[in-house]
Amino acid sequence: MSRVQGRSRRVRQARGARRAVGVLTSLAVLGMWEAVGRSGSVMFLEPFSVAARGAWDLVSGPGLRQDVLPSATRTVIGFFVGSSLGVAAGLLLGHFRALDPWVRPVLEFLRAVPLPAVLPVAVLAFGPNSGTRVGLIALGAVWPVLLNTMDGARTVDAGFVDAARAAHVGRWRVVSRVIWPACLPQVFAGLRIALGISLIMMVISEMVASTSGLGFFVLQAQRAYAFQDMYAGILVLGLLGGLFTLLFTVVEYHMLAWYEGQKGIGRG
């Protein structure tokens, strides 16, 4: 066997060992949760197996249509509405740079407002319905996307834009074919933050004056001392968050595949 082959096998073995260590650590933590839960030394802590069974009941029973799907739908709609608005406004404000000093302080302030503080007021003003909740999720998703798109569009290499103009490319096509792809990596960085905020806003908006959704389910379970349901709801929320993050990563990977190869070019 050649030395190179031997080395690559060692590398593969080390990688396998590391993966095993990772899985073992996760199992150890779950085992600890199970053991502490069973021993009853921490009050109100249910073991993992009980929580997992509850989570399975939740997604396989009527809870799926009553709580899980409404939550997922609200998150998705809110995220899409908010981020589309953010991208559109961000491209506009980034393209017309003169607007920047006028709007930036206001935007920075609005972004800094913690939305949960707006929640009670919004529920009172617009009613405790799905629309209000989706609106709040969208409002949370707008800011990171808007500011990142704006910064991305502002700092696009002026050479690209000049080259396109010199080739008599129209204004709209410069935005759609040059500026938009060039700021896409930064847009995705904003979208990733927006996704996390959307999930947070989904849960918290369902905790106030709601009758459906996972946030409602979890809080209700806690108030009714139904701890199996409470832990089950949190597990499902975690899985939902993981699922959305995974989907997002796949989309990002495909849309930014060209970018990975571009890094480093055009700098040296």
């Binding site: 920047d100 000093p101 806690q222």
Partner: protein, 328 residues
């Protein structure tokens, strides 16, 4: 091209190829048409007498934001910003007048600002803001210290990274507010519960950005440190951590604003204090101007927190202008 000797007082080692080219052609032009003495005087004027500060200024000049923020434009910029705020208030009033916002639930800007002044002057709003700021500070400090420690550990050690990787992948996407009920049940109402929630929510960006920063320390710097005889711990302290600092600050900034959000959530749902509670209370009683004043104060805290982390970043990472901007 990276600037290798940014503080070199003479020569053109600190100029970009393009600048050097344009200065060469300018010199050629002058030498030919004006005469030698004028050229040298002119070049000194261009380069400036304080050449050590030159690369920093040039690096800042490369981004539009920094250029706009130049001292010369500051008053104009501030005036435009105030204009934007006035515009936003006008939009608010127009939305009220056209009943896009329900009129009885959306008080006028005047009512909100008078409520703001009264409530701050008489104390309750200032008290709530102080409670929020305190809970935020405790939670954020916890998250920052745990996050930097953990991030450094998983950044340095592949085994630590491998051991925690899957666990972090599961834990991170859990929306922290989903843990509100558990935190209440296990930790009760109060600061302990708040600290747990705030730090759980805001620790992740710190961990992952620190890890990224530690991983991406320039190998050249590491080798130089080793050649200069730094042992493991000293290498971490003197080379790795300073090198990772810009990335750490990115994480801290994200964490700081997440922490504000979760602080308000914890107050809204569970604690009898702070701005979240203040807004909720006044909304239930029907004092809408006071509720909106609470929101404005919450926004101000968020804004200040962001500005404070940015300022700390700028004060601590002074070399960023050279190392990052230098290669543009």
């Amino acid at each position: 091209m990276p600037t290798i000797f940014p503080n070199l007082p003479t020569g053109q080692g600190n100029l970009s190829p393009f600048m050097r080219l344009s200065m060469d052609s300018a010199r050629h032009y002058r030498r030919r048409y004006i005469g030698r003495g004028a050229v040298e005087a002119d070049m000194t004027a261009v380069r400036g007498s304080d050449s050590a500060s030159r690369p920093i200024r040039r690096a800042e000049d490369t981004t539009g934001a920094a250029r706009d923020a130049g001292a010369r434009h500051r008053p104009v910029r501030a005036a435009k910003g105030i204009g934007g705020v006035v515009g936003a208030v006008c939009v608010w009033e127009i939305l009220r007048a056209t009943s896009v916002l329900p009129e009885n639930n959306a008080p006028s800007a005047g009512a909100i600002s008078s409520a703001l002044f009264n409530e701050i002057g008489e104390g309750p709003l200032a008290m709530a803001a102080a409670q929020t700021a305190y809970a935020w500070a405790v939670g954020f400090a916890t998250a920052a210290s745990i996050g930097v420690l953990l991030g450094t550990l998983v950044g340095l050690s592949q085994w630590a990274d491998a051991a925690t990787g899957p666990l972090f992948t599961f834990l991170r996407p859990i929306p922290a507010v989903a843990l509100v009920p558990v935190a209440i049940v296990l930790l009760g109402l109060g600061l302990r519960m708040q600290t747990f929630l705030i730090s759980f929510a805001s620790v992740w960006p710190v961990v992952f950005n620190t890890r990224y920063g530690v991983r991406n320390v320039d190998p050249l710097h590491l080798d130089s440190g080793r050649i200069l005889g730094l042992r493991r711990l000293a290498l971490v302290r003197r080379v790795v951590l300073p090198g990772a600092l810009p990335a750490v600050f990115t994480g801290l900034r994200l964490a700081a604003s997440i922490a504000v959000v979760v602080t308000v959530v914890s107050e809204l749902v569970a604690s009898g204090a702070g701005l979240g509670h203040y807004v909720d209370l006044h909304q239930q009683v029907g004092d809408m101007p006071e509720a909106y004043a609470g929101i404005v104060v919450a926004g101000t805290i968020g804004y200040l927190v962001n500005a404070a982390v940015l300022a700390a970043d700028r004060l601590t990472v002074r070399w960023r202008a050279i190392t990052v901007g230098g290669d543009q």
